[in-house]
Symmetry: C2
Subunit: 324 residues, 2 copies
């Protein structure tokens, strides 16, 4: 199936439309400034892949119900909260082609808006007794903040190992997609084994997703994102880690010198990118990504056929074939 988000959404079209309303509604506040900001956030919404994972996994596991809807809203509120906080963390001025909340309203407001969104997600779950969903999601909040902190502590060390890289991306990225799929399964009252299987499926998709994201930084695409940002920030990702592992002593010394002392210089960054390409770093990362992709699809194969399952397979393909 050629991945096309419109096509993928067909079996959950009504659910996604309902979700839009529920999500908007769940952020409403009597504080006008807050309403103003959350309206802005809704306007610049992304592809909403996370709610799609929640609905499709629930569909595969037996059927979408009200708890699935609340789970999707909880996940998207949490995800939005972390994006707003991330932009403070990264000092980012843009998000999805719009100004970031911190750029328009300053850091202080962005931190508070993030906390507010998180609390609305919690309340939605607590008030409806969705404690299983809450457990899954609280764990994701912990993993994500730990993962980001691990990245800050480790990813700029130039001798970072592949293992540590996988730990970081598992916590900071894959844990949320794992939670989406666990929430979807859990909302249908599936047994623990099925929930665990769906969590593992989501984790593998998340790993592939982040490796794809890290590949973009090496211009591994005609149109992709701006190139060399990670190198400029001395953030070590899989293609570079692999290339350095393989390099001989002299080459390694030269590349580390470039990253350490000249990462602000576009020419030096391009030299690093060429080195990674020449060393097979991109191919290696793609191989690992494909392995996660295949393992994810293998897990999915154990579930019965349905339109949901076909769409979910399409969504997985989309995450690794997307152009941005």
């Amino acid at each position: 199936m050629k991945p096309d988000l419109k096509q993928i959404q067909v079996p959950i079209e009504n659910e996604m439309a309902q979700f839009e309303l529920k999500f908007r509604d769940s952020m409403k506040s009597k504080v006008k400034l807050l309403d103003h900001i959350t309206n802005y956030i809704v306007k610049r919404k992304g592809k909403q892949m996370r709610p799609m994972f929640v609905f499709l996994t629930a569909g595969v596991c037996g059927g979408i119900n009200d708890a699935t809807h609340r789970g999707a809203a909880l996940i998207e509120l949490l995800h939005t909260a972390t994006l707003v906080h991330d932009d403070v963390v990264d000092d980012a001025n843009y998000r999805r082609g719009f100004f970031s909340v911190n750029a328009l309203w300053k850091n202080k407001i962005a931190v508070l808006v993030g906390d507010y969104l998180l609390s609305r997600g919690l309340l939605l779950s607590v008030e409806n007794g969705d404690f299983d969903l809450l457990k899954i999601v609280s764990n994701a909040v912990k993993e994500m903040s730990e993962g980001e902190l691990l990245q800050i502590a480790k990813a700029r060390k130039l001798d970072i190992t592949e293992e540590v890289y996988y730990d970081i991306i598992r916590q900071k990225t894959a844990s949320l997609l794992a939670s989406c799929c666990a929430v979807g399964a859990s909302s249908t009252q599936s047994d623990e084994k099925t929930i665990a299987k769906m969590r593992e499926f989501g984790e593998k998709v998340g790993m592939a997703f982040q490796i794809k994201d890290d590949l973009f930084d090496f211009g591994d695409d005609e149109i992709g994102k701006p190139v060399g940002i990670d190198i400029k920030e001395k953030k070590m990702t899989l293609p570079l880690i692999f290339a350095l592992q393989k390099a001989d002593w002299l080459e390694k010394k030269k590349i580390i010198h470039l990253i350490r002392n000249r990462s602000e210089d576009k020419k030096a960054v391009n030299q690093v990118i060429s080195f990674v390409k020449k060393s097979g770093g991109l191919d290696y990362a793609k191989t690992i990504m494909d392995r996660y992709f295949i393992e994810a699809l293998d897990i999915l194969k154990t579930f019965p056929e349905s339109a949901y399952k076909t769409s979910l397979e399409g969504l997985v393909s989309y995450t690794i074939e997307r152009k941005k």
Copy 2:
């Protein structure tokens, strides 16, 4: 009873000692950077009035148990998370005589550490099935972030009313103390009416607490905190709101001019402070504070006598008689 924190703590001495260990333990992480930061946070701990409110209200309502302990840890984790985020919000470099987390490790890390602490609180509750406590506390997170945002939107408008001021401090400050007392009561399996009574008690204490805090800014104390910070930041608090309400047209115009255009000038700030004192703004705020204080104690009177109750009365007195 003369308020003395050591004396107040006598009936809950063992509980507070256990709490220390539980709190420290609940923050542990395998990420070293995070452990390093949370150790630092533990070292600069405050008076821990919030856990004291949790334990004492539970004592008054029938007895401290394991759920009370988890409630106290949940509240203190949440409170610590908001303090770490507040320092980002306020661009503060100090907290309790130590450098703030954002000053030592930058905003980005402070935001993540706050999120991490919050998630640990959530997990502690979710894993133990403390859903009633979680509901109370999720609501507090929502109220606090809304209250801070309302303050940002409103408190710098020079024509702010007393009503809006009360709304702000009810949400940003009183909601957490209300939650402490509701959590204490709820942990003992008290009925809804008792929990509601304790919540109201805590809210009134919180209102008095914040009015006291706002009075400090007018140097209403021999040793207190630095004076005139709120005026410098154009933050309108009760003494000033009252004084402006009472002032004639010409005087009002003069004071508003000083706040709007010269609040960076120490002399102008002192003129505003003198005006507030002369207009009886401090006395008025103290009268309102005392009213909340008395109403809080009146609620407490409906509970049976005990060492916990005596200490709780002492703790309430402490909040309005404290010198900093």
